[in-house]
């Protein structure tokens, strides 16, 4: 496990057009982490990046992505024109022999992970604050400060497969229970026509998605990585909460909605609903009973009445309680199946590029490091995943590492599948045969070629 905070050298955002004249360099820096870096040091770092980015633009129409020096790696991300986000990590010093470098490779943070971190940070910002370009110049410094400081500090990114392949963990709910959820949502939306249900999550697994896939990933990450863990912690600690928990409650704002002031505390988000063409601003309302969480949106222009929330609470509470119980029964069954999966020696990762469904035989929650995928193997998977050309739309690659790991990557019909097998003295035919069996077991009923 590598704590990213010890590795992050700095994270900053700049826009060169903000202070074009000499002496105004600091204006260009919208945000800089860590905070204790002096103004001069900031200027130097940002200046270097500005120069590199500008310099590279003469060679390619594509924006510059990365810069690597002997000691540092810079990852660039330009989410909006002229706005650059940069993440800098320190590299381990190269040692003399090549083999030890190869060993060390695994300890390094993957470029794809750094890229993901930047993209996720930006999307999170966009969801909660909006586009950089929509924020008035005088506000942008404080807004960035308010958002990114806690965000960066809360990130605890480890070398885990979930950070390499960012996906959504869907709950494979049997159809009658699924319909129960859907019809509950329909009834809710019909009775409260201003409200739209955008997500239904059980534990950390998504059941219903009413957003564009991209925004869903961001919201999902926000819920699963930040909001829900805090809630769960609260639920475990507070005995008083358990009674309320049965009946359900609004968890955003954290203390619920009891007064008009609480409505003012509701979070506003920018989201694109499923099959909608544009991003709009909404109030984000989150309600939770037992382990079921639903997210509702209301157009941010609407005036909200306290009475509506009271009635909504009375409506959702009992119904959601019922549904949560049904789902929980099913989950018990799933948990048993998953336990069997985790027991298998061979590890696989499944990813659907279209709905971002992500499934792995290794426990998602990496409490037991031994079950996690070895860093060097992860590096290979990260490379296969991030470079779509290596697998193509329909393709297969088998790679063997020095210490007898066989990594098979396959892609077909917009899905990716990776299998990791550790076997001494195996040959490629045996490995291919084993992969085929795992594929057949995991890919029942879908078109996945070549098997």
């Amino acid at each position: 496990m590598i704590d990213i905070n010890s590795k992050i050298n700095s994270f900053f955002i700049f826009n060169s057009t903000f202070g074009p004249k000499e002496g105004e360099e600091l204006k260009r820096i919208l945000f800089f982490h860590p905070n204790q870096v002096t103004a001069d040091a900031r200027k130097i770092q940002v200046g270097l990046c500005e120069a590199v980015v500008k310099f590279m633009s003469t060679f390619s129409s594509e924006p510059c992505e990365a810069l690597q020096t002997q000691t540092k790696r810079y990852i660039f991300f330009q989410p909006e024109k002229n706005y650059w986000m940069v993440l800098v990590v320190r590299l381990p010093y190269p040692t003399k022999s090549m083999s030890s470098i190869a060993e060390k490779r695994g300890d390094m943070i993957q470029p794809v992970m750094m890229q993901n971190l930047l993209v996720t940070a930006y999307k999170m910002f966009r969801m909660f604050v909006g586009l950089f370009s929509d924020i008035p110049a005088e506000d942008i410094y404080t807004k960035c400060q308010q958002f990114f400081t806690p965000y960066i500090l809360s990130r605890n990114i480890t070398n885990d497969v979930t950070n390499v392949i960012q996906g959504i963990n869907y709950l494979p709910l049997e159809k009658n229970s699924f319909f129960k959820v859907v019809c509950f949502i329909d009834l809710l939306e019909i009775n409260y026509s201003d409200f739209k249900c955008i997500a239904f999550i059980y534990n950390e697994q998504l059941i219903w998605n009413g957003l564009s896939t991209d925004d869903m990933l961001t919201l999902y990450q926000y819920l699963v990585q930040s909001l829900l863990p805090k809630q769960v912690e609260k639920e475990i600690q507070g005995g008083a909460v358990t009674a309320a928990q049965r009946h359900g409650r609004f968890i955003s704002p954290p203390d619920g909605i009891h007064t008009l002031d609480d409505i003012q505390k509701l979070v506003k988000v920018y989201l694109k609903l499923e099959d909608d063409t544009e991003t709009k601003q909404y109030y984000l309302i989150i309600y939770r009973t037992l382990s079921a969480t639903i997210c509702l949106t209301v157009d941010a222009k609407k005036t909200l009445e306290l009475e509506t929330f009271r009635s909504l609470d009375a409506f959702i509470g009992p119904q959601l309680y019922n549904i949560a119980s049904t789902v929980s029964e099913q989950c018990t069954v799933h948990a048993l199946q998953n336990a069997q999966l985790a027991n298998t020696e061979n590890k696989f990762i499944y990813f659907n590029r279209l709905n971002l469904a992500f499934k792995t035989s290794a426990p998602i929650n990496t409490l037991t490091p031994s079950a996690a995928i070895k860093p060097e193997v992860l590096t290979i998977i990260a490379e296969l995943h991030s470079d779509r050309k290596s697998l193509g739309n329909y393709g297969e690659i088998i790679i063997k590492t020095l210490d007898e790991y066989w990594i098979t990557g396959k892609s077909s019909n917009e899905r990716e599948f990776y299998v990791v097998i550790q076997k001494k003295n195996a040959n490629i035919i045996e490995v291919a045969e084993e992969v085929k069996q795992i594929c057949e077991a995991q890919m029942k009923g879908i078109f996945f070629y070549p098997i």
């Binding site: 159809k175 009658n176 859907v182 009834l187 019909i190 329909y394 009923g445 078109f447 070629y449 070549p450």
Partner: protein, 644 residues
Amino acid sequence: MVKFSLKDSDVYYLSLSEQPKRFDADSPVTNVFFDDTNGQVFTVRSGGVTGVTVNSMDKSKCTSFRMEDKGPIISIKFSLDQKVLAIQRNHDGQTATVEFVNFKDLAPTNVEYMHTCKWKCAKILGFVWPKANEIAFITDHGIELLQVLPEKKQLKTLKSISFSGAWFSWCSRSNIVVLASNNGALLQPFFFNNSTITKLQKLELDSSRPVGERDVFILQLCEATWCAIFRHGTSANMSAPLPTEIWLMPISGANGVQHTHILKTGLIGRFALSVVDDLVAVHHQSSQTSQLFDIMEELKVDNNTMIHLPIVPGHSIKPAVVDDQFCPMYSGNWVVFQPDYIIDARLGCLWRVNLIPEGLAHSVQKDDIPKIIAVLLRRKDGVETIYRILNQLVLEVNTYLVELTKSFDEINSVYRKWVDSEVARNTAGVAGAGAGAGAEAWRGRGRAVLTQSDVCTRLLQPHADHDRIVQVVSAYVWSLCAHGLTAGPGLAALCVRALVTRGARGRLRALLRRGALADARPLACQLLSLGHLDPAAAQLALDMMWRLRAREEIVEVLLSSNEPISAVGAAKQMDEATWLGLSPRKLLEAAKTFAEENGQPGAFVAVYHALLGRNERLRGSPHFLKGEQCDSYIEYYNKVTSER
């Protein structure tokens, strides 16, 4: 609580026949008799001397004739084939005799004869015609079943059973007679069948509460025969007697276990019963209302009894018009016969009672809508009303989504049973008996069934532009799934269109992933065509084709998505025949396009070599046939390989 009211529906759910059968009214010189077996009204003027008129709803059973007045008539009835008229008269001291007159073409012949029952001193309580040429004398000594031999002018005893009864009740539909003995505390049913009499399980009542003749009816209801008994409330306090209940006790029925049904009227006074479309209509005179009970309701069986309440609050029968004016309803002159005859002897009218299905939905508590749908599903003419209700629920779905969902459940639980019976019929190998016989048999039993294609065309399709169609379709598909059914091709196509146009593609994919829409090639193609809007739909289309083993289609899809190598690989892997059957030109063309577009001549070479191998296997030689027209590709191959 919101009340649902079906648009353009009348408040009445029962009516009398529009054209009553008219006959001469009861008067000092006229006597009126009704035979519920044949449904005939006999009007006897001056003992028959000035004429007997026979009226019936069935025109072929109407006639008139004259006969001699041999004394006051107690009962007069035709045999089932209308060839013998039997008359029972009130002669002092000679009560055990019935007279017979042979008829030809509904006109009397001069052939007349008499028969005296075997128990000479017995009193004939009545007689019935269980079969065309069989008559049963019901006496206080027992029952004698006789065969009538009109040509020989005599009767032959077939079977007799001794039983001491005080009065009887007869049901012509089930050929069951019930004799009461022990002052009405014991009811003994007998069944006429195969020219014999069978004694059935007796019904014993609480001896402290015996029943009278006018409180017992034998009904045929829901393919079973029941003894209906009015249990008038007894109470110590006579000024506030308890309301009357109707007990339906099973006498015989096809399906084994039956329990007693108790119909709670909540009223006291005079009642009469009709059976209309397997519903029990309880007419109450003083309140001028009729209540409807459905004994097929699914209720909890408690202590082997099932307690029913009226399906809708009681309401009067729709006022009938006689001679251009409204006639008195629930009049004291009314006599109600089984199953659904009502006679007003004073007015000279014979009516039948009809059900107006839409009336049941005129004013319904919101929560009761699914129950009404269930009731209508068990009626012969319920389907139209069901569709009207459903259409209205869909239009007002913002109020009625829950009720609509539950109504779908009622509909699909019947549909499921129908599907099962169809499957059973087909597997039993009687398919030759004619397709659709199952549905007919089903409807013949007075049941409605709304199949998914019916619901599609009559409900969902017309509302395809409704802004809540997504929710309606989801509710319907859910209900199908909950009953273990999947959406077939027609519904699936509609579902796809509705969900895609209403911006619910995610929901569509969720339904597909969970197999709520049945796999089918047309559905796969429809999804594939959505691929340009929604790549995920195309992904699922390929999955579906794979499950359907639609190999050629998969190869086509891969070729059209510019994946020639995968197409060849997939074809080779899936199935020998598919691979050997593919046109080489098509593959080579796709490979060439791919190679040129991507600057990968290797792709073309790979496909080309695979095909050479195939030729070798097929024909023992790697060369293409002339007819395959591959010359240009051979050239291209040579060019590409020489460049290398």
